[in-house]
Symmetry: D2
Subunit: 335 residues, 4 copies
């Protein structure tokens, strides 16, 4: 049994703690949160210890691995601490909002064999992963165009938006990772447009956008389009489509249930989409823990590594520059 401690007991940390608790080959070693009451709550419910500090976790011989679900500015520090303590680590995205900090972290942990896994959870969704598997199995030939639609059910609270780093670093970053995962090839140029259609005043205040379209191209001309919006009234819109020389594969949305209704003025009506990521990606979050346990047990490079976190962040930087300057940006400009 891999003994995993969870740092951060917010909504995501708590969910990870429960998934670890339920995992057949893992054991929840304990939890920590700077808000002690949040940690106590989880600890009591699941019958595990509450740690007094993050340091205590990294020092504990009763902890084999750590899951980092604390606030973004602590991520890089904790990754470095995990490597120093030789504890495999699963860290929520992003590594940091600053590319420089991420690069410094990369330098600090360079050469480590401690598995460091990034929480790009969507790679573990059976639907999205099915897209990649179909590609790898040669079922659609060579990939030519990837289309990612990713819209939140509603805009996050102002307080979150204000510190999120902007839509590209906070929301599109998942899609940048998905684009790389599905395309299986690095992108060379990024061209983005942004609009303020959902919450114009807030967006102006934060110099942010709520509705964006990003086009990515590879050196060979392959294309990826990402459509994001901060509010889709019908729920959490999460689709991935790959078009290739021999076919196409699509990962579809998930309505809240599988019921279809017919009435006098309509047919085939389904429920709104699952809302929100905890529900929609429940299976993916559980599978992510599975992959982490695998990597930690076998000391193997995890499915999603530190460099994936950096690459996604660089794409976000390029998109920000593209919108600001109204022109396509070459990745080399931000690397």
């Amino acid at each position: 049994m891999l003994r995993i401690a969870v740092l951060g007991c917010g909504r995501i940390g708590r969910m990870h703690a429960e998934n670890i608790h339920a995992h057949p080959r893992a054991k929840l070693a304990g939890v920590f949160d700077v808000v002690h009451a949040a940690a106590s709550d989880v600890a009591d419910k699941l019958g595990v210890p509450r740690f007094a500090s993050a340091e205590e976790i990294f020092a504990s011989s009763a902890v084999d691995a750590v899951l980092i679900a604390t606030s973004t500015p602590t991520h890089a520090d904790f990754i470095e601490a995990a490597v120093a303590a030789a504890k495999p680590c699963l860290c929520e995205k992003p590594i940091d909002l600053s590319v420089d900090r991420v690069k410094a972290c990369a330098k600090a942990i360079a050469g480590t064999t401690v598995p460091i896994m990034l929480g790009f959870v969507r790679r573990f969704d059976t639907g999205h992963a099915g897209v990649r598997q179909a590609i790898e199995a040669g079922q659609i030939g060579e990939v030519h165009q990837v289309t990612i639609t990713s819209r939140d059910p509603d805009i996050a609270p102002d307080a979150y938006i204000e510190v999120s780093g902007g839509i590209f670093r906070d929301m599109t970053i998942h899609d940048f990772d998905m684009a790389r995962f599905v395309m299986g090839e690095e992108f060379e140029t990024v061209s983005a447009v942004g609009a303020r259609l959902v919450a114009p005043a807030l967006m102006r205040r934060c110099d942010d956008y709520d509705t964006v379209t990003v086009t990515l191209t590879t050196a060979s001309g392959k294309q990826c389009v990402i459509s994001n919006a901060r509010r889709a009234v019908y729920g959490y819109d999460q689709r991935v489509e790959a078009f290739g020389s021999q076919g196409m594969v699509i990962s579809e949305n998930h309505p809240a249930n599988n019921t279809r209704l017919y009435g006098a003025s309509f047919t085939d009506r389904k429920a709104p989409l699952m809302n929100f990521f905890i529900e929609r990606y429940a299976q993916a979050f559980a599978s992510e823990i599975d992959a982490f346990v695998d990597a930690a047990e076998k000391k193997l490079p995890p499915a999603v590594g530190f460099d994936d976190g950096l690459r996604a962040l660089l794409l976000a930087e390029a998109a920000i520059l593209s919108v600001r300057e109204g022109r396509p940006v070459n990745l080399s400009e931000v690397e």
Copy 2:
């Protein structure tokens, strides 16, 4: 060019006339209806002669073949006339409401090589035909269970119901033919239940039912279920499903268009189903003319023959007996 005359210029006759007019290898030779104005209307629109009588058509050397879309009681007479005149004939279903009359007609035309085709149009629907094709191609192995759902968008006018011969002879008869077509094997027993849920007073007056379920079995135990209702508020519900040892094939409904709507309380909402048979089976009616032209040109037995009309009617008789006596009926009881 096959010169085809149309007898009967009601809604169906008119549609057939237009399809013949538009067919690349056929020519509308003229039309007839006991209501001369109805015939004149079609004749004028399409620029073809109006015949003064059915007899004139059968006697005309300018007519190669006939399409019979007159009222049911005339069908058998006209089929006999067509055979006598050596004119290939496409006759709307049913041949007659009386099994005895149908058998007499069969006797009268026994041994003829003149192609006599029955208008079981649904066999020509690309979806339903696709079910049969999948079976013939071995794609679902041996057929074990067939499920046919067939519901009209609304109940016909009282005047029609009163002379229709009842739901089994008028509506289910299409499904009996579809059941035989898809199963590819004759049925041995028929078990039917009927209810009066849509228009109870009318149904009682006509000793008829508006909601029925029929189970058919073959000698080898294979099963078919037909669900009928005289009113489906969401449109014309027309589905065929065949389940077999190696798979399943389903012919789906046709919404009025291919648009899907998403809103705050629903997703994937489509339009009501196409309404009614002229729209839903437009492609099938055109393909039916195609098959008839083929058979007439080549003097070959048509895809749907006189005997298919008789077999469907016998299944209807068995269903009527089954509901009346509350027991399964063996086909041999009504043959």
Copy 3:
């Protein structure tokens, strides 16, 4: 926290134990199995005690409620023991294969206020439950026809078939309960046909069927059709459709993932259906525990009661008689 002990650590018992372990308002009090190793395995994994006997559980003050997942012949005894011990009980279906034993059990526990819940898990599937909810919300008007398709991905091992009590008591029983749940009205007649198309020799030896169609009618003429087969190569086929005076509602199948593939000879191809009930009804099994915890905490009649178990069994008896005698059976004949 409701302390629940699990009796029976086979595949289903183990899953229930894990669901209780993970439930926010329940605690797994311990497990028991006549095969001690099976119980120890679960106990060790989840860190809970293994009880030495069922008696020990019923006597324990550390157990508030029980879940019975032992072999069928023990169910009625354990239900009686649970009532005697005043411990709310969730019992897997069926109560017993013998109607007499079930009636005796009913007599033995008559008048109890101890919540006794039956494990008709499908009622808790969000899709199937959504059908019932749509009906209760008046979204399809009055229900006229219910269609249930229920096919296993593959036939169970011979050893299971030999003691299962036959397809109607073992497999269709779930559909009988679903039919009652969806129709919201008791059935009056049962008419069933059965065939031996999947495993003829085994079926003959067991006097059983592998492919059956059952038609149920209510006193008012409403109709329900159940289609069962013991092997569907494409996976676990689980669909429920209710057609009513104002619309229709369908609970659809669940492919293993939400990916659709397009190639040179096909489009929209999905994965096989989830296989088997533990995967397909994972959400429903978890929700079932939820409902049980609710009922036990509040000492309220559970969503699915003892009488529901009896009613489903009586429908199975009627179906068996119907197939044997080749005629519709009135429920009053078997009550």
Copy 4:
């Protein structure tokens, strides 16, 4: 009856002739083609005169209106001739490959009240039109993002590609019109990327692309993405999606039939998409004639006018410039 002559008897002209022939309020007045045999073939089949020249048509008092389906370089001349002859005209797209010629034509016919309709047939597809109707009915609120996927089943012959004017003028032009139609607002910027992935040698020779992505934005920041490819092995991929503040509406693809197949390794498999535009847009081509007859009879501005042809061409010009210079282009640069 509106008497319409058809100029051009290639594949599209012939189809238009048949649709006019079948139309209840129109009559085919005759046909013309520079290849007389092509015109004779259609004339004989449909029993109408063959005109000896285009001039004869424009001069004929037996012709009320004209349909222009000749080669692109003749379109503008014939439009001018139609206006001069006061004959309403339905002209296939594009008006011309040269913006200058189109502008000259616009000047030549300025102020005319003769209805001039452009053949952007997709606007008449019930699915795509349904998207626009949903928007106009307020069903999705304000449109924020439009996504158009448009892929041909296979690349056209080299000879066609060589004179087509390039993918943006030949293929994307339909999507530019659809984008304007659905968005209901003019675009301000065009940003396009292109690749040579399907037929690289041919594309290089023609300075053309086979795989392109175009992003359009309006002054208010609303976004439209068009994905084109010259070969989709699964058929003619034609989808339109509009996302808005209150919902989303999607016009879906059309498989060749409505059958779904289930087997041991898949479920829900449909046929390839309809192939090609004559089949896929059969309903739309017929409705287009309907709209033209309406406009011609009532002397009203047609649903799709000359200016729509110009606007689409300007978007194509901007896309070409964008790809060439690797930057977003403002429409004002090409107007």
